[in-house]
């Protein structure tokens, strides 16, 4: 099996060293380069074309979000694992919108990094468990205080299944194959889910799924 090539981008040498040790400990992963700011990351990504980039969200000269967007434009095959100190939905949503596949909190990076890299390499979403927890708490508190009803209850079992599969990063075609449905039916379900949950775009759908603990 081909090794997954990983580029590490973080402006802190200590963190990079720690991450490198974690990655190097995995036989199926290999570190191909290290970058210490946003611009260097974009340049190295272009030169090395890694499978996955593990990137700090706050970096000098060009922050992680912007670097992520640029890299996704140039190299659509390269997946990005975002590293952050923040579990707030503002960060998660913006990282998702910029095209990141996985979102890891720095304080739990060591435990989940390998899984996150593998998920991202396979085109699947991954989130630190703590992120889902914070998002869910925010969501539940808001429901409780404003007296709104939980839109998740509006979904049919089939729609929930589709929500999870879309959020995990599957295309409509994958889902159709998996569930033995036509692509058209999947698309219809998908549109209805978006409508019921009042979501605009895949990043919001993924965020919603994370919040509800549908994926992690």
């Amino acid at each position: 099996m081909r090794e997954t090539r990983v580029l590490l981008a973080d402006d802190h040498t200590l963190i990079r060293a720690g991450l490198r040790m974690v990655v190097d400990a995995q036989p199926d992963l290999t570190v191909v380069g290290e970058a210490d700011d946003g611009r260097a990351t974009v340049a190295m990504a272009e030169a090395l074309k890694p499978d996955v980039i593990v990137m700090d969200i706050g970096m000098p000269s060009l922050n992680g979000i912007e670097a992520c967007r640029q890299i996704r434009e140039i190299l659509p095959e390269t997946q990005i694992v975002m590293l952050s100190m923040h579990s707030d939905e503002g960060y998660v949503l913006r990282a998702l919108k910029a095209g990141a596949k996985a979102y890891l909190l720095k304080d739990s990076a060591e435990a989940d990094l390998a899984r996150a890299i593998r998920s991202a390499a396979a085109g699947k979403s991954f989130f630190s468990p703590a992120v889902g927890k914070v998002l869910l708490e925010d969501y539940m508190r808001k429901l409780q205080r404003t007296g709104a009803e939980d839109s998740y209850d509006l979904l049919s079992p089939r729609e929930r299944e589709i929500l999870q599969l879309v959020a995990e990063g599957n295309s409509s075609k994958d889902i159709a194959n998996l569930l033995n449905l036509s692509v058209y039916t999947v698309e219809t379900h998908r549109a209805r889910v978006m409508q019921k949950l009042n979501l605009r775009g895949i990043p919001e759908l993924i965020l919603y799924a994370v919040r509800k603990g549908v994926i992690s």
């Binding site: 802190h12 963190i15 720690g18 992680g64 503002g90 960060y91 404003t146």
Partner: protein, 479 residues
């Protein structure tokens, strides 16, 4: 850790400026000057009043005197001409009588002469009784001449008509003409004396008038002079006061400007320091702890076969995690990295969720058209404004809901923070928090308004001029 303005620093600077202000304050204008002014004005008015009353009274007196003199003169002149006429008639009658030759006409002529004599006497008696010695003398002289004439006539008349007829020519030439001339002289003297007296009275009046005129002129001169002095002194005093006021105003404006600059520098210094500390915490301590966490995690995984070591490592890891969280929170409070990483709107949304998580107040954040690329001082200003307003609302208002609205137009940025708490009296309550907010907004040339009534929540609004086309507005200052 307090992130609000340090009240001691502000109080200190305010005190310094108060001391400065009291130094430049000049001695208050004394009451003496005011009393002096009043005194001089009063004296001036009294002077004018007195001289006015005196001259009016004098004029009235003079008029009545002149009237009396003229009347007396007219009376005398009338009497004299009456007397003169009577004497003249008497003379004619005597001459006629002397020339009369017929005896039967004698008796009625006698009677006529007696009648005329009585008339002359009554004329003389009618002459005004108030007369001085020279006038009496003249009158006596006149009376004497007349009585001489009468005596003469009486002796002549005693003769019979024949005799009279012969001597009539010589009698007329010798006596009548002489006596008539005398009477004419005396009455001429009396007339002249009367004229002289009128002249005398006129002269006296003129002298008195000149005296009063002199007095009046002196009074007017004094009044005018002192009035002029008063005006000059008053003008000088006003000019001095104006100059003082102007210089005081200038000094006040200067010290106010200095105060504003100082507090602006204070805000800047605070912001710079916060950012430095935040970066230090985040970059050094935070990253060290992060690296430590990664290493501890690896060690823990590696020590799966030794449970007691693993338990200890897990414990160390959780302690480090807590420290990491604490450092992260403090760093965020000092300088939210969202502002740099994600822009203003995301930072405000984060702030809203953060407050919702930690308090009983649910915060809704709305934004319209807000650029992600605002200059740092604008981002910081809006962010701190919202932060302070929400903290205040949580701490003091008991609000259940708060709404933050940020809107950017072509000319300005509008920030509005409203809550449904129990409000406060916006006219009276101005804590350091509100002052600090106002200070920040003013620094960027904006306006800050607080609307609140007890029981009706509170709304804070800031309008900050900002034009995205030229990057920043002319009103904004950076230092």
């Amino acid at each position: 850790m307090s992130l609000s303005f340090d009240p001691r620093i502000l109080a200190m600077t305010l005190n310094e400026h108060a001391a400065e202000a009291s130094q430049l304050e000049l001695a208050p204008p004394s009451n003496k000057v005011r009393w002096l002014f009043l005194g001089v004005c009063g004296a001036l008015l009294a002077l004018l009043l007195v001289s006015g009353v005196l001259s009016v009274r004098f004029l009235a007196k003079m008029q009545s005197q002149e009237l009396a003199v003229t009347r007396a003169l007219a009376e005398r002149a009338q009497m004299l001409s009456g007397l003169w006429l009577s004497i003249q008639t008497y003379n004619d009658a005597v001459q006629q009588f002397v020339a009369e030759t017929q005896a039967d006409r004698e008796e009625p002529s006698h009677q006529q002469l007696d009648q005329l004599t009585l008339e002359i006497d009554s004329d003389l008696k009618r002459y005004p009784v108030e007369r001085d010695s020279s006038e009496a003398e003249l009158l006596d002289g006149l009376q004497e001449v007349f009585s001489q004439q009468r005596t003469l006539y009486v002796s002549t008349l005693a003769r019979n008509s024949g005799e009279r007829g012969r001597s009539v020519e010589s009698f007329n030439a010798e006596h009548v003409a002489a006596v008539q001339k005398k009477i004419l002289d005396w009455s001429g003297k009396l007339r002249a004396w009367n004229g002289e007296r009128l002249g005398n009275v006129d002269r006296t009046l003129m002298t008195e008038f000149a005296g009063v005129q002199g007095g009046l002129t002196r009074a007017l001169t004094i009044g005018l002079g002192s009035g002029l002095l008063l005006v000059l002194a008053g003008t000088a005093y006003i000019v001095r006061l104006e100059r003082q006021t102007h210089s005081r105003y200038t000094q006040l404006a200067q010290s106010q400007h200095a105060l504003q600059q100082l507090s602006a520098r204070l805000v800047d210094a605070q912001e710079t320091e916060r950012r430095a500390i935040s970066r230090e915490l985040h970059d050094e301590i935070g990253q060290a702890l992060g690296a430590l966490l990664v290493d501890l995690g690896r060690l823990s995984t590696a020590s799966n076969d030794r449970p007691e070591v693993k338990a200890q490592l897990e414990n160390m890891k959780s302690v480090t995690e807590r420290a990491f969280q604490a450092v992260r929170n403090v760093a965020l409070l000092l300088r939210p990295s969202m502002l740099d990483d994600l822009g203003l709107v995301a930072a405000l949304e984060w702030q809203g969720r953060e407050v919702s998580r930690r308090s009983e107040m649910e915060v809704e954040v709305q934004s319209e058209n807000v650029s992600d690329a605002l200059p740092d001082e604008y981002k910081i200003c809006v962010y701190r404004l919202v932060h302070e307003a929400l903290s205040n609302a949580v701490r003091h208002s008991g609000a259940k809901n708060a709404r933050v609205m940020v809107r950017q137009s072509s000319k300005n940025i509008t920030v509005r923070i409203g809550d449904d708490g129990h409000g406060f009296n916006a006219q009276r309550t101005r804590g350091l928090g509100l002052l600090g907010m106002e200070e920040r907004v003013k620094r960027l040339g904006g306006t800050f308004t607080v609307e609140s009534k007890p029981g009706h929540g509170a709304t804070l609004t800031a309008e900050i001029p900002f034009s995205s086309s030229n990057g920043r507005t002319s009103g904004a200052t950076t230092s």
